[in-house]
């Protein structure tokens, strides 16, 4: 991690080189991994054990939404369960709010889960014999909070997710999207700093899913929560996440912001995923601008100071709009008062297509 990341905020989850190996001989396999540094394939061959998560390290900071994206079988659901110790890691350390989960007593672990880590499941898991309000208050009830207070807190949480009128209904009376809102309300009612989201929106239809994604991001930011969000959908990860980790076969291949991953995929696997992603809102002016010298070489008669201006953070969609309004062939990118580069039509097309500037130069 670079220093700038450290400066962004307090570390809430620090997951250090965590492994999870499943199988009858998992203990021996773990030893072999430590001593001989076996790979996943060797562990399966020699010990008949499946590596769920291999050497995963992630850090989640206060206020950050961290997405873990991977296809089914990539180990993402195992990884998120390691974060609240629903699954005990075979190797490595998970530190939450400064406490190593492995060193906590059973009671302390329960308290940490109850107060600091909320969780939302793909299956929603609403208790069918309880009303919406009773479901949302479940976490508080478990903590032993009195009925009056927990019902008040739970109704506030339900209000935040837009279900104030549904308190006395039963889960079966709600649509899938509404049920998932109750799941979210249940998680935030206990006011945890961290919310673990295990593919919560996967089973919903696209329109509702998109709406919930936006609401979730907004709500999480508003409440100042941190979230780890599991998904198999890169679009969803980009829409929601501040940073994204991409997993394959139990290994984290790349961690970065959406723009970093789209512009510089770590390998062919990531590149393939990224290929279908619309760059309009991802790629920013500072990634597609050319230098002033280059611009002046191509347009010797153009006056830089007369160009329309924008910020380095403007995305391609915005830049296209500006280019179409302007009668000139460039947009000046201004950072703290001075022009740092020019976005030309050619640069814009390059950004949309996703070709690297150096590839272009070579061609």
């Amino acid at each position: 991690m670079s220093e700038s990341d450290n400066a962004n905020g307090e570390l809430l989850i620090d997951c250090q080189s965590v492994w999870k190996i499943f199988g009858d001989r998992a203990n021996v396999a773990v030893k072999a991994v430590v001593e001989k540094g076996l790979t996943k394939k060797q562990v399966l061959q020699d010990y008949n054990c499946v590596v769920g998560v291999a050497d995963a390290s992630i850090q989640v900071r206060r206020g950050e939404i961290f997405c873990i994206m991977g296809l089914s079988g990539s180990g993402k659901s195992t990884l998120i369960r390691l974060l609240n110790r629903l699954i005990v890691p075979s190797l490595g350390k998970v530190v939450v709010k400064g406490y190593d989960l492995a060193t906590l007593s059973a009671a302390d672990l329960r308290r940490t889960r109850a107060r600091h880590i909320g969780m939302v499941f793909q299956s929603v898991a609403l208790l069918p014999h309880r009303t919406v309000l009773e479901n949302a208050a479940f976490g508080l009830e478990v903590q032993g909070i009195g009925k009056l207070e927990r019902n008040r807190t739970a109704s506030e949480a339900l209000e935040k997710v837009g279900l104030a009128d549904w308190l006395s209904r039963y889960p079966a009376e709600l649509s899938g999207g509404m049920q998932q809102r109750v799941g979210l309300a249940r998680a935030i009612a206990a006011n945890p700093e961290i919310i673990l989201m295990d593919e919560p929106f996967s089973a919903l239809d696209p329109l509702i899913r998109r709406q919930l994604q936006d609401e979730f991001r907004q709500l999480t930011k508003e409440l100042g929560k941190s979230a780890v969000f599991i998904t198999h959908d890169l679009d969803e990860a980009i829409r929601i996440g501040d940073r994204i980790a991409i997993m394959k076969d139990g290994v984290i291949i790349q961690i970065g912001t959406a723009e970093e991953i789209v512009l510089n995929p770590a390998d062919d696997y990531v590149a393939e995923f990224v290929a279908g992603i619309s760059r309009l809102h991802l790629v920013k002016a500072h990634s597609v601008m050319s230098s002033i010298a280059e611009y002046q070489r191509a347009h010797p008669n153009s006056d830089i100071n007369a160009l329309t201006t924008t910020t380095p953070e403007a995305d391609i969609d915005e830049l296209i709009g500006l280019t179409m309004q302007s009668d000139r062939d460039g947009i000046a990118v201004v950072d703290s008062g001075s022009v740092v580069g020019i976005v030309t039509t050619r640069g814009l097309l390059r950004g949309v297509k996703g070709t690297q500037p150096d590839e272009l130069a070579a061609a």
Binding site: L86, L109, F121, A125, H129, G139, V142, Y170, A172
Partner: protein, 282 residues
């Protein structure tokens, strides 16, 4: 040693063993007998406290509330019919026997089923015993029971309790084991204690299965009280047994009608109560 002398020796040993148990365990069986008969008498006198039309009205109202208006009407009329054919006291003693036996069977079967739901080894160990109970013809253990507990309602109660335990036990154990995994996970992620997991998650999910077990136990008990007529259970069972011995066909049919009425009313009321509590919301 030929086979007949071996058989004789085996029979002699069995008789001696039963005699020994009867002689040495007498005080245990005597106290068991007085406890069971005391309970039975208590329930019976409570039921006899109200005249038949009050019992019929209560059954009709309950039937109306938990099942339907039509069923309420049927229950009331059918019970009055039992009184008209002159079998009201017998019907009530059968009801007392069934209620007492089922209650005691549930008292054993449900807690044991809960434990077995958590301990698969216990479940496996008890499985052959339950199979034995459910396949053994009741006449086989009614006779030794007479030797130990005497002729009368205590023996009938024990026999009925024994057959009523397995369904409650099996379905409770099944219900506890069938808790959906995602809810167990929800519990752990929420920071739940072991007790909370049981009462707030496992038990509610097991409830429909447990209710089905209670209903099955009730039905088994009804089947048994008729057979237990031969050991002096009293009530409709004994009426039917007596009618068979004297070939009084009309009387045996009357008693059979009363048994069917009682079984139907209790069965539907129990099912109605179960679905009113749990079925409607899921």
């Amino acid at each position: 040693m030929n086979s007949s002398s071996f058989a004789d020796a085996f029979d002699t040993t069995t008789d001696a063993a039963l005699e020994w148990v009867s002689d040495n365990g007498g005080f245990i069986f005597d106290s068991l007998r007085s406890v069971l008969e005391g309970l039975y008498d208590g329930v019976l006198s409570a039921l006899n406290f109200a005249p038949f039309y009050v019992v019929a009205t209560v059954a009709a109202l309950l039937g109306w509330r938990v099942v339907s208006a039509w069923f309420g009407l049927f229950a009331g009329v059918a019970l009055v019919f039992c009184a008209i054919i002159g079998l009201w006291p017998e019907t009530m003693s059968t009801l007392a026997l069934v209620l007492t036996a089922t209650f005691l069977a549930l008292l054993v079967g449900i807690p044991a089923g809960v434990v077995a739901g958590f301990v698969p080894a216990l479940d496996r160990a008890l499985e052959p015993v339950l199979d034995l109970i459910q396949t053994l013809p009741p006449y086989i253990y009614l006779l030794p029971a007479i030797a130990l507990l005497g002729y009368g309602p205590a023996t009938a109660l024990v026999a009925t309790i024994i057959v009523a335990i397995p369904p409650a036990f099996r379905l409770t154990s099944l219900g506890i084991r069938m808790t959906p995994n995602e809810f167990v996970e929800l519990g752990h992620a929420t920071g739940i204690t072991g007790m909370q997991m049981f009462f707030k998650i496992r038990l509610p999910f097991a409830m429909p299965s447990i209710m089905a077990g209670i209903n099955q136990s009730l039905m088994m008990a009804f089947g048994m009280v008729v057979i237990a007529g031969i050991v002096g259970s009293g009530g409709l069972g004994e009426t039917i047994y007596g009618a068979i011995r004297t070939l009084d066909i009309a009387k045996s049919i009357n008693a059979a009608i009363a048994i069917v009425v009682l079984t139907m009313v209790l069965d539907r009321l129990a099912q109605g109560a179960a679905s009113a509590g749990y079925g409607a919301k899921t």
